[in-house]
Symmetry: C2
């Protein structure tokens, strides 16, 4: 068969299989798959270099479906490549099948979970950046985007960074099928508009008829030859191409074809083509960085050190001994103190500028390539990437994020800069770990522990200095806590700045003859239910205090732990109940009702209520 | 004084005052203010049309500082305009002052809280869109952006939408001072690059020397004459302009000048210029929409109706009787059912395409202009705009958001589409209301109630049909709950799909002789602590079930309510503990351990434990 004929046939097979699996699954997006079938047929046949038997081979190309809803097409590609059976394909969207409605890395050849539009391309940029700057491997990253998702800002963060880093190992293919979920996209088939934007963002832009396999070949060749910048192939396609009942028709998004059998017949029937997808042309090993060695930082008891500073120093020290640690920051490295790592290990520091979505996407990509990414910005600004963090969990990603400048205790900058929802947001991420150190030596230990945690680990740091209360050799564990003061009348639970307020409250209470136990709850998830349960049983009253909104943070972590442990006692939860403004840290802690005075007052109330009960 | 001389003098005054207030406050961003001082001097003197005495006059121009950290400059402008005193200016960043580190609408002439970069311009787009499409008023929207924030994807969503809607009433000014917080921005002083991008996004782009008041005048005149599309003035400036010690120097971001006195002397000393800012040239009233009238939808008992469908129908009905209701959607209106409103009230429907950040920003703008915006998309995709939602609370915004397709009960589409963190995220928003209806008639009532709530109100809806259990005339209140089945052995608490699972569980338990009370907790914030406390006291055991991660949602709302009420009992919290895949809704509810069987089993365990205790 002539190569173009083969590719056309393969395109038809991908359409037929997309229809078949959507039909078998009873739902799915066959029409969004059909528009890109010819684009994928040409890609599979001679362009993509991927050893399906060795999915983690560092020499492999990567294929990211940013339009994750075109999963029928992706899985049909896997079948055409001989990587999965027809039976597996037809398990689409069934319980227990790896072939879910949207692709996830449960499938070996999927790098990142997609399905929230505008995320695949940013991760593809991260993969290409990793290959170029860290892995130093030759493979390409191919990314199939939909035209609807070009409306997402994150796509333009990705465009911006890809050219900034001169990622000529990245080729994006935009399937401009004109039709979104509810109607025409903002820009329809205006390929020239997309091309102009891409060029303005520093990309090579190539327009092509996405159903002309010969033209696609030429476009890919041109893209592959592009040097010094990324390339995008803008393909004019028709949604549902090849089947009259749905081709370029509105109202045909996201559902199986009404008459699958007829559609398959119209496409020339089922085929069983298998092709040998090219293997990487040359072997490659990921670069490994030498490490100078070094020692963990330590701090003297009583010294006032900001936990954000300790984070930076701990991260640098980690980088001294581990070559797989990489730091990323959103242009606030002198605030988060990741600059200490940057200055020591510039090759392993990636500046993402003020683009938090691209920051998290890059971290997701790096961990896929075996790195240990630590990303940092203000806790408040991680909310900008919450959808990416949510999806990172679906990707089963292992990454470490640090949010600095938590809480009202930042002071004068005001509420826009105060992370006050970060604990709630990160606790509500599947499989996450949430850590919140209370002093500098503890921060160092927790940063070390984070390095080997699976899943998404979050560390919350403060802007202001906190007195060092732990020795440099003290051990901490994820899921642990520390009783930092004994007492049996009431328990005060805090972390970070509120631990120190609680300690001060305990002093005030002691003056009244009330002996307060104080617990440092540095690990919010997992949480030390045993120690908390014991405190409930032994002291009968708990006051929690957090520099965070009252919902979803430390206080509710304590309540959940008690419920799980089957213990109960009076609990008074203190959090930030007002919208803060500017002021000094002390003024704002007092105004928010989470300072030592407020904690002591709440404790007295609980103890008093018990006494009179 | 020659007009250019006056403007230069005014620019110097704005610099001096920016330095003075930062010095008085002990922190702040004077250098980021000084770069844009000449730009603002020319704007204030003859371009901006704003009646400071009547800040809500619909004819006013709007001035948005997207680079909110340049608040010293903004407040200095207010002083120059005679709107605030020098004393007020010098209260900068002090406790209780309206003049916080970053501007908020606590100040009458501030439309939106900024300080999280990349948010002001999207809101400015919303204001301009409101003026053009809804208010039909002639005022302009001016927006001062920083160059660092051009890295935020949300800026490009704003660029995209502004030209799409042909907003020639919008003028953005980009203060390209080259220096970010830690060093040079991605693109330095490459004004041509920014101009090319702006033009590719359909804007008029004008490059100018941002310290040449004559050139700025010409640039503004050209921008004002631009028709059919928005204009951006790209100004080459120097950070810290005018003071040698800081001008164009790295490391001078975000702190007062070391020697303020010397700097002020270098700038020619303090001045006390006041100018009459132009008032709007013509009076204007906001357009009001006629309403056809109509009746609330109602559903028959036992009918299976998706709450998302009821949302759409309720919203349409609300629009039938209230002309101030506006709907916005992120290109999924046939899923959220906001399409029902769109079809009935097309003039009051705004399509934001797949740009959730721009969606929320537009809603923030509309509420500022007196509209009642209801924004909808999948609950999962509202996470994309979490930073905007957080900041909307700082803006004291009143808006209504609906997240559809909540939970594993969506079925086959898989986890990328499942909102499983939305309750945690929205509970942790200051002053928010979180509603989660369990049937269609209740949804209608809650949508009606939302219309008049202050702050950020969130409604969670489900994809699948749920049996109607309430009559069409039943009243509900925010902060209420409903005991839908009586019983004294154990209490089951659910909402949405899990309420129906709980009802089924109660049937199963009744067969074993266990009488379960079932509570519909349709209002998670505020929450009905009284009813929950009574249930704790009377039944001694509570099982909560939610189609949500176990953290921060319904279960923890119940625990917090009990703690606040001073009640305690055994509580077993059921939530989604596994990462779901694809499957049918029933399969996934079962696999996640939140179906009737799991609820009944948990209840039996609690009751059994009590019996043997």
């Amino acid at each position: 068969m002539d190569r173009n004929d083969f590719r056309r046939e393969l395109g038809q097979q991908l359409r037929v299989d997309s229809i078949r699996c959507s039909d078998a699954g009873g739902s799915g997006h066959p029409t969004s798959s059909m528009s890109a079938a010819d684009l994928m047929a040409v890609l599979l046949d001679g362009h993509l270099e991927l050893d399906f038997d060795n999915p983690t081979d560092p020499a492999n190309d990567h294929l990211v479906f940013s339009k994750g809803h075109a999963s029928p097409l992706l899985y049909s590609c896997f079948k055409a490549a001989g990587a999965i059976t027809d039976e597996e394909l037809l398990s689409f969207r069934k319980l227990g099948s790896k072939f879910e409605g949207h692709p996830t890395p449960v499938i070996p050849w999927v790098d990142v979970a997609t399905g929230s539009l505008g995320q695949g391309l940013p991760v593809a940029v991260g993969l290409a950046l990793s290959a170029k700057r860290l892995d130093r491997t030759p493979g390409r990253v191919w990314c199939l985007c939909g035209d609807s998702e070009m409306a997402e800002g994150s796509i333009w963060e990705a465009f911006d960074h890809a050219s900034f880093w001169e990622l000529d190992n990245l080729i994006a293919i935009v399937d401009v099928n004109r039709l979104g979920q509810t109607g025409e996209t903002m820009h329809g088939w205006d390929l020239a508009l997309y091309a102009e934007r891409a060029r303005a963002f520093g990309w090579e832009a190539i327009e092509v008829d996405g159903h002309d396999v010969g033209a696609i070949e030429d476009a890919y060749a041109q893209a592959e030859q592009t040097s010094g910048r990324p390339a995008v192939v803008l393909a004019r396609t028709k949604k549902g191409a090849g089947v009259k009942a749905v081709e370029d028709q509105p109202g045909k998004h996201g559902k199986p074809l009404e008459d699958a059998e007829e559609a398959i017949a119209e496409l020339g029937g089922a085929r069983d083509l298998t092709l040998e997808v090219k293997k990487p042309g040359q072997a490659a090993e990921s670069h490994r960085f030498d490490t100078p060695g070094g020692e963990r930082p330590s701090y003297d008891s009583g010294e006032e050190v900001a936990t954000r500073k300790a984070y930076g120093e701990a991260l640098k020290a980690l980088g001294d001994t581990r070559g797989d640690v990489v730091a990323l920051d959103g242009e606030v490295s002198n605030s988060t103190y990741s600059e200490i790592f940057r200055d020591a290990h510039p090759e392993r520091y990636i500046e993402l500028y003020i683009a938090e979505q691209q920051l998290v996407a890059t971290a997701v990509a790096l961990q896929r390539r075996g790195w240990k990414p630590f990303g940092s910005t203000f806790a408040a600004f991680l909310t900008r990437a919450y959808d990416f963090i949510r999806m990172a969990a679906v990707s089963r990603a292992t990454l470490k994020l640090c949010g600095s400048h938590a809480g009202v205790s930042i002071g004068e900058d005001g509420p826009s800069q105060m992370g006050l929802e970060d604990l709630a947001a990160f606790r509500a991420v599947h499989g996450s770990t949430v850590l919140y150190p209370s002093d500098a030596n503890q921060t160092v230990r927790l940063v070390e522990l984070m390095a080997d945690l699976d899943g998404i680990a979050y560390l919350r740091t403060h802007r202001g200095g906190l007195p060092v209360i732990y020795g440099p050799d003290e051990e901490f564990e994820v899921g642990g806590s520390r009783v930092v003061r004994d007492g049996d009348d009431v328990t005060l639970v805090g972390a970070g700045v509120t631990l120190h307020e609680a300690l001060e409250a305990a002093e005030q209470l002691a003056a009244d003859g009330v002996q307060a136990r104080v617990i440092d709850l540095y690990s919010l998830k997992p949480v030390d239910a045993e120690t908390l349960g014991r405190a409930a049983a032994e002291t009968g009253a708990i006051v929690t205090a957090e520099d965070h909104w009252p919902e979803g943070g430390l206080g509710e972590a304590v309540l959940s732990a008690l419920a799980d442990a089957g213990e109960s006692c009076r609990v008074r939860k203190l959090g930030v109940e007002i919208m803060p403004g500017s002021g000094t840290p002390d003024e704002l802690l007092r105004e928010a009702g989470i300072d030592s005075g407020a904690i002591a007052a709440a404790a007295r109330e609980l103890v008093g209520a018990r006494a009179t009960a």
